[in-house]
Every structure is written in structure tokens, then in C-alpha cells.
Symmetry: C2
Subunit: 285 residues, 2 copies
Amino acid sequence: MRIIRTAAELRARLEPLRSGGIGFVPTMGALHEGHLSLLRAARAAHGTVVLSIFVNPAQFDRGEDLAAYPRDEARDIELAEASGVDLLFAPEAGEIYPPGFRTTVSVGGAVAESLEGAARGRAHFDGVATVVSKLLILVRPDAAYFGRKDFQQLLLVRRLVADLGLPTRIVGCPTVREPDGLARSSRNVGLGPEERRLAAAVPAALSAAVAAVRQGVADAEEIRIRAGRALDRPGLGVEYLALVHPETLEPVAVVTAPTVLAVAVRIGATRLIDNELLDPAPIEG
Amino acid sequence: MRIIRTAAELRARLEPLRSGGIGFVPTMGALHEGHLSLLRAARAAHGTVVLSIFVNPAQFDRGEDLAAYPRDEARDIELAEASGVDLLFAPEAGEIYPPGFRTTVSVGGAVAESLEGAARGRAHFDGVATVVSKLLILVRPDAAYFGRKDFQQLLLVRRLVADLGLPTRIVGCPTVREPDGLARSSRNVGLGPEERRLAAAVPAALSAAVAAVRQGVADAEEIRIRAGRALDRPGLGVEYLALVHPETLEPVAVVTAPTVLAVAVRIGATRLIDNELLDPAPIEG
């Protein structure tokens, strides 16, 4: 595995490898089993696997501590090597945002403006869209892999790739979970032991919603109330808990078609998001 | 010469031609000698020359009549063929902006916000930046050619290409002028005979500024006043007449280094822009 710090070197090294196919996994590092599942999917499908590790300053909102985001490059390098990564691109911020940088890629509409967009502010998804565009232009992979845990980010990336005509297939991979259901996330390391136990309320809320839909409940507000009960715990603050259309993210009032339940909570200093696709079809069949 | 209407066909046809080098001239059609000079520059330097003709709705501001923009595809095709164009890409608007399109590429700062950005509104350069990004991502040329008449657009394109890391060299080509000095522009066809005579005041204003600098005038306001006199004609409205830094577009107060004099006027229903680089060096040498 080669570790690359500059765009120019990455571009040059990729050129002779293009004919064998390139799979790309963009990350902010602090690799966990979720990322490794993306790398496995890429490894199985392409001659060359590129992993990027870049804690993107542009997508952190003011209130959030960019400096506090977990970083452990040595461990990430080991995990990447063990996962069969060929090229690890780990640039400094100045390589991605050189002096005079003034360009923003921005996706409009509910896909960028609701849920995470509303909670974290407009700049968050602008930061995501801009850095993902830059990385996809640089790597020009045949496919790029993203986790469904960040399903709104996945929709946003699909939108911008279609809109800009980037020649990359976007692959969404299933959320990887802990034994108690907690979605794997780099942010989980910020949870203390008691907070970690409390965090199990998030997948419990999703399960309550799935159970409600299985029981034939279609009223979104009723489903939301049942899911919300699991979150009604001291020390857990709900930022949003919403039933939305899986592509437009418009609010859903009655669950008669696949609907996403999206949730964001704060536990202490840690912010967690998760989501579940609620599919009413099984009860009708 | 092949005429291509879809991005998919253009992408497929370009692939086997890449090794010979690709030069690209993006236009809104209504081709004139200015465009042809860009095509000649591209023809001399690359194995394949791609011309795009797309009247980009996104870069027209509300007040302006998109429908009134001159179009003559049959004549453009003849001129392109005669200029040695290999691939003419002339898509419909729906090919560039399909249903659900929501992505904008935006350049911030004075390069996008002053002069034309201030006069035509923020959406104008967002429209330019978005369509140029899409076209450069699609064509992925070795070089793309732009006229210096639209010098602010040229700066904006250089900025976004550097910022997004697009692998294309941007070439700025000299403004082509009529015998009386009027810059060639697709918009000139909108001028009636009397308006056409009046339009010669624009290059006359630029010449007055050049003469002032040659005479040793360094005070920007004095240069501006002398240039402005040439424009003080009934039926000619000055939108802006400004001395600015050639890269940052910041206002210049004293001309001690190369400075751009930029001008926009309205004559009847036609809006004209032009510019000249004022170089004080000759008087110092």
C-alpha cells in the first residue's frame, strides 16, 4: 500500500491503473467496521482500491469541535493495509484548499436543507458536496462507496454526481451495527461507558418503529411517538426524529410506501445519527 | 465534423481520441471572428477539437431576454466545419439540466461578485461556473479556450478549475476587434446602424485611457474621467467603468502596475462589455 499526500502524485499513480478499474472509499479516517465493509465491497469489484482520509474542515459547523474529531492515522494505515487498500490518499488541508480557494459546490432542495442540513446548517452539506466533488474529479473512480448510515449524505452525493455528470457509480452499503444495534460510527469513541449504554436507545427507537409498521400502524405521527418513547431517557436529547420519503426527504404523513425514519440525538458531547427504512409491504403481502 | 446532442455520445466518441489531445472551445453559438480565433488556437495545438454550442439559460438574469439571444445553428455549423472542428456538441437544455437538477458551482469573492457579478446579479456567474464545470467534467480536455473580452469570466473559470482540480489548462485569447475597434461579440448583431456607430465610443474610451497612461497619468480617477468623456454620448448608458487589479479585481486608485479598465454599457436594448489592460511600465522604462 502506498501512502500519498498530494493530488499530483495520486493522479500520476492512478493513470496506469485505470484499465483494471478503480474503486474509491472516501472517509474522514478513524476507521471502523463500517468503513472496512466499504473497503471489502470495493476490493471485491475493482483492480485498484483507493481510500482517502481527510478530516474536511469545511463540513464542520461552528459549534462542533473540528479539533476534537477522532484521528489515529497509524491505526488507520494498519487497517487500510489489512483491507487490501492499494493507494491511501491522506492530504493536508492545504492540499485540498490551497490559498485563494473560493469555489463551493452546493446542492439545493430538501436533500441538502432538511434534517442534517437544518440541524447542522447550510455550510455542512456545502462542505461535503465540495470535497466529494473534488475527490471524485481527482480520483475519477468507476465506483465510490458510501455507508447508508449517512443516508442523506448518500442522496446528496448521488444528486451531485448525476447533476455534474461525474462518471462514477455511487454504491450505498448497509449500516454496520454493534451487537446491541448501535450503528458503527467514528463518533462512538466519544461516548463514556454510561453514555454508550444510553446510545442503545437509538437503535431501540428504530426497532420500535419497525415493530409498529409490522403491526400495521401507518400513521406517521403514531410511529414517531412509539419510536420517541425509546428515546425518552435522561441525558439523551433528540435533535430530530422524522419520517421522510427515501428520495425526496419530504415529510411523510401516512406510511403506505417505503419510508425512512431518520434520527439525530445528542448524548453528552457526542452527536449520533441513524436511520431505518420502514417498509409497509410485508404486512400487505 | 460530427454533430452530437447527448453527453453519453460525446463521452463515448472522445474516449478513443484522448491520446491525441483534446482542445475545447465552449460557446453560446452565434459564432463570430472571436470564436473562430479560439478554434484556430485549439486546432493548432490538439489532435481533436471540440466546440460546444449551448445557450445556457442559467446564466441569463431575469431582466434579460434569453429568447432574444442570437441563434443561427445552420451558420454556426458551417463556420465550425470550416474551422476544422471535429466534434460539435450542441445539446438541448434538458440534456444539461435534466429534471431534478439541483447542483450549483459557485465562486465567491470579488472575482464573481464585482463588475459583471454586481451588474447582472449573483446568479449569472453561478450559471457560468456550473455549466463550465459540467462541460469540463464531460469533455475533460487538455486545454479550453476563452476570449479575454470576457476577462472576468476567464478569471472565474481559472479560479474554479484550480479549486476543483479539473485537469484542463485554461487559455485566454486576445479580443478580436472590428476595424473601428469594437470588440467582436454575438450581441453586436442586436445593434441598429446608428447604435453600431455609437458603439465605437467603447473602444474609444479604452484608447483614451491607454493614451492617458502613456502620458504618465497614474491617478485612476483622472484616467476614468478621460475614458468617461468618450462615453458621454446621448443613447449610451454606462453601467460601470472601473480600474481594477487584473487578478483580484479589487479597485485600483493609482496605476503603478498593470491594471484592467473594465467597461459595460447599454446602447438601446444591447449590453456591451469590453476591457483593456493598462500597463504603466512603458513610461517608466
